[in-house]
């Protein structure tokens, strides 16, 4: 029966909100277990070295030390991608970056553990190191991983769609540009933490993980323990952004130490360790060539991209393919060729970070597009509207576009800044810019091959009238627990306050693949809706049977079961559940979500396809001080097509948060390294995350295209808004002072240099 939404679209308090603002919420590092030890990891001071030997005897002899571990304790390879399992929990034979894990200690207290680390003697044979990705492409004499066939190239990828040569021949104008997007890192508030306990031969690991399920699998593999004997629990988590999106050395190491010591062991990274171990956004060197007709319509695109992957695989091969695949929209591109490579360097591994894979190429392409528009004398907004993808189409690389509010996004963000009246017409030093973007709502293909659902939810309604949602989804602060409560409440018809959510515990919750690639609202939301429907049907069937009313005449509104127009007593939801339980036992429902088969039938065709795509457009207004080079973002109008708004403040918060993160990447954050491989700024003092004073007024616009397959029409809102924010700012700088910046982050010095260059061509 169709009806107005009871809860969806209205502001809902987070289910964990009060606990978090009062400090009651327990994060992993808040936990203490009887007999718990503190674990610490010894890290390599060398960027590239062979380990000749490790002598741990002095550390072991130190009073208070209960266990010392090295690579020999678990020499099993792992890696989030089955195609690049190239890591060990602790180094075996070799270290590959400054900070690589060498050995670990568990002691009664932290000071003893730190002291014990200094007593471990490692004999290193220092090897030449590579820090420049271009060097890594060609250098055969230095192999960071022996297995790489050519130089230090982990993977090359080539994709080609349509007739690219013909597309360029048909073009009236062809432009080429090169860009560089520097490295940035996640900088979550909570540093990574893991607490391991063995009891009765079973392992429990509490960890700040975005992916309890993958962690569960790899713990079994690396530790050689059957998965059924392992429990992974994710306590409250203080921000992930991708940095906790794969099994990490501290998680294995805590378990190895706990097993050796026979006592619980907790390892919490220092802030420096968070920076040292990284796994953030890949630096990319990019080259774009685009052909257009006189009217601005795109005829062909050729994109080349070099990814500086750092020392290990991590998510990198997926990053590589995303960087190519996600340029095929949100503009209709009839012919497209991509050539990319990911190389190893002796720096911390890069991995997934909010907006994974698409952010760097999006920056490059949107600035490149503005340059083409400027060359042709076409308004950048017009240029985008002309080429915008339409709903229910396929991109040239076979991505299935269903709902699409891209035009709306362009119009709403540009209108907010009075684009037509102001673009190109503001006084010198002030400017506006626009950019678009799109992103996946989860990957249609799982990370490891299997045909099971990507998300599962079990719901139980009990005689207290409570509804409990069990789901493996990992709330990392984005609010997925609240989303599950809302979807269950709306579907069943009870108030969200009567819903409890039990999540991210592999003993009690069914599998969800985790919080990455913006998949949770779409996939867990759909699974939750299916499970809730089942519960609702169970309850209503019982009521229908008792009252002899057709089930489709019954409804549950705000926890009350009614049959409008029938002379029957209304029942509270609690009474109705009791009735159902009396008739048929526990009132449970379950649901799973499996994406449709969307993978492209070509190598790499598994990366990019998604059951739906979010779209976005940001319009930025900046002020540029031509004497100092300072760029100040005054306003950011951020429009995001999220299908349907489930919880407005949560959705707006995601859009704003992503925009702020983009702003930081554009103007401040630089995850750099010295020539000798040391991290240039491993602290929140020197790694410049924007402060509240650096953030402008952000106006979020939520565009509702109502997706046919999303839960209540919803799509992702967590990551997509990062894509357009960077190029919107860069394009606004051009409008303000007439210079294009082909390198991000943009320093004041770079602005001044560009201005000087423009004066003296």
């Amino acid at each position: 029966m169709s009806r107005e939404f009871q809860w969806i679209g209205k502001p809902m308090l987070r289910v964990d909100g009060v606990a978090k603002v009062t400090g009651a919420a327990q994060y992993t590092d808040d936990m203490r277990l009887p007999g718990m030890l503190v674990g610490k990891i010894l890290r390599s001071p060398h960027a590239h070295a062979r380990i000749r030997s490790i002598d741990t005897s002095r550390a072991e002899a130190l009073p208070g030390v209960k266990a010392v571990a090295t690579g020999k304790d678990a020499p099993v390879r792992y890696g989030i991608l089955p195609v690049s399992e190239d890591e060990f929990p602790l180094a075996v034979d070799k270290v590959r970056y400054i900070g690589d894990e060498v050995a670990a200690v568990a002691a009664l207290d932290e000071a003893t553990a730190v002291r014990a680390l200094s007593l471990i003697e490692v004999d290193y044979e220092v090897l030449p190191a590579i820090f420049d990705p271009h060097e890594a492409l060609v250098r055969e004499d230095v192999k960071i991983h022996e297995e790489t066939r050519k130089a230090n190239i982990e993977r090359r990828a080539t994709l080609s769609f349509g007739d690219v040569e013909a597309g360029f021949l048909a073009a009236d104008y062809v432009r080429e540009d090169t860009f560089f997007k520097g490295a940035v890192t996640h900088a979550p508030l909570e540093t990574q933490s893991a607490l391991a306990q063995f009891r009765d031969g079973r392992l429990t690991l509490w960890s700040s993980t975005q992916v309890p399920h993958y962690l569960h699998r790899y713990l079994a593999k690396v530790l050689g323990i059957p998965a059924e004997q392992i429990r992974v629990i994710k306590p409250h988590l203080g921000g992930g952004f991708g940095g906790k999106g794969e099994p990490l050395p501290l998680e294995f190491t805590a378990c190895i130490l706990a097993r050796k010591a026979g006592r619980p062991v907790k390892i919490t990274y220092t802030r420096e360790e968070v920076f040292l171990t990284h796994r953030g956004r890949h630096p990319m060197h990019m080259k774009l060539k685009t052909g257009v007709k006189k009217d601005g319509s795109i005829t062909a695109l050729h994109f080349e991209c070099l990814l500086d992957g750092g020392a290990y695989g991590s998510y990198g091969i997926v990053t590589l393919y995303y960087s190519g695949q996600l340029l095929a929209g949100p503009y209709a591109i009839p012919a497209y060729r991509f050539e990319g490579a990911r190389v190893h360097t002796n720096k911390p591994a890069c991995g997934a970070q909010r907006g994974h894979g698409g952010v760097q190429p999006r920056y490059a392409f949107e600035v490149h597009l503005d340059r083409i528009a400027t060359d042709l004398g076409i308004d950048p907004l017009e240029m985008r509207l002309k080429n915008a993808v339409e709903p229910n189409t396929r991109t040239v690389n076979e991505l299935r576009i269903t709902s699409c509010g891209f035009r709306d996004c362009l119009e709403r963000s540009s209108n907010a800044l009075s684009w037509t009246e102001r673009r190109g017409k503001l006084p010198r030093g002030r400017g506006v810019g626009i950019a678009g973007g799109f992103y996946i709502c989860g990957a249609a293909v799982p990370i490891y091959y299997n045909s099971m659902p990507h998300s599962n939810v079990r719901i139980e309604a009990d005689r207290s009238g409570r509804v409990t949602v069990f789901c493996g989804a990992s709330d990392i602060g984005q609010g997925s627990d609240t989303m599950l409560a809302l979807v269950a409440a709306e579907t069943i018809g009870v108030s969200p306050e009567s819903v409890r959510v039990v999540s991210a515990d592999t003993d009690t919750t069914p599998v969800d693949l985790g919080s990455y690639s913006s998949r949770v609202t779409f996939m867990a939301g759909n699974a939750c809706r299916a499970a809730a429907e089942e519960v609702r049907n169970r309850v209503l069937s019982a009521v229908a049977e008792m009252n002899e009313v057709p089930i489709d005449q019954l409804e549950i509104l705000n926890g009350v079961v009614e049959a409008p127009g029938y002379l029957v007593r209304t029942l509270s939801f609690q009474e109705a559940v009791a009735l159902a339980e009396a008739g048929g036992g526990p009132v449970c429902g379950s649901g799973g979500y499996t994406p449709p088969k969307l993978a492209g039938k070509y190598r790499g065709g598994g990366v990019g396809p998604s059951p739906a795509y979010s779209f976005g457009a940001h319009a930025a207004e900046v002020e540029v001080d031509e004497e100092t080079g300072d760029v100040k973002v005054i306003r950011l109008a951020a429009a995001h097509d999220l299908g349907r708004t489930l919880n407005p403040p949560a959705a707006e918060g995601q859009v704003e948060g992503a925009a702020v993160m983009g702003l930081g990447e554009t103007l401040l954050e630089d995850h750099g390294f010295l020539d000798s491989g040391q991290h240039a700024n491993p602290s929140l003092l020197e790694y410049k995350v924007p402060t509240a004073l650096d953030v402008p007024d952000i106006e979020p616009f939520l565009v509702e295209s109502v997706d046919p397959e999303g839960p209540f029409g919803a799509k992702e809102v967590g990551e997509g808004s990062l894509h357009p924010s960077i190029p919107a700012i860069v394009n606004a700088i051009y409008d303000a002072v007439g210079v294009w910046l082909h390198e991000v982050p943009i320093t004041p010095e770079a602005v001044l240099k560009a201005l000087r260059k423009k004066e003296k061509p």
């Binding site: 220092t270 401040l668 003092l685 509240a692």
Partner: protein, 328 residues
Amino acid sequence: MMVLPAFSLLKPVSLTEALSALAENPGALPVAGGTDLLVLMKHGLFNPSHLVDLKEVPGLGRIAITDQGVSLGACVRLSELRDHPEIRRSYRALSDAAGLVASPPLQNRGTLGGNICLDTRCHYYNQSAFWRQSLGFCLKREGNICRAAPGSKRCFATFSSDTVPALIALGARVKLAGWQEGALTEREFPLEEFFVEDGIRRNVLHPGEVVAGLHLPPAKGLRSGYRKYRQRASIDYPLVSVAVAFRIIENKLQNVRVVVGALASAPVAAVETMAVLEGNRPTPDLLGRAAELVTKSTRPVKNQASSPGHRRHMARVLCRRLLEEMVK
């Protein structure tokens, strides 16, 4: 978090008790807000046996205003300096500088004395023990070469206090207290003489000696201002800073003081700028010419986020903009 090394905490309740504690324990260091020292300790840069907490020492937290000027105790909090109505009115540069230190929570904790004694800073120094060991240690701590200027015999770590350039511009005198042969010693002199152009030695404090307070002469129509350049609008240390004070008497600039911070290992008096301004009418042309000279005596090295050239450029821009605003 990084581990704070173990130490004994002493909490004296008088200045003599504090000074004798410092004298008796050669490994002791004074502490007040701890916003600088505790971080340095976590990095393994200082490893004191004792910390002597000055916060409970009577008198050190006092602000006294008399006909003779203003006396400021070493433990006055930066947020008090920022908000104090009289300081804001008569010594604007100091109030503004205090309000630009780090961020409001740190201003609530950090003290004037601590900001004056702030350790000099360098990219190769303000790092963890692990990091410094990986790169190799430096002149300032445990090593024998300067990582910022290899080949140099001296340390170029940067003087990074915000309040000091303002205080010097305002003509502050510093009062030091020490302990010798069982008796309190005191000395007082202009604040600029407190600092040494040496990233390691930094200042003239003897072991066991502490900054007890400062004295500012009566303002008497003094105008003053402070500008700071940093990457973010909060938290960051200065990449460069400029403090200016002068009087306008009969349309002419008098008693001009211009001090530059964060371009050397000590605050730098911009004597060329002062000479151009002193006794002259503040025309835009004069202010521009004076500002161009503000970095004349500075030779910063690359040991901060921004390039030395850009930091010097920013000093000139900030100086001109500040002068223009102050003559309005």
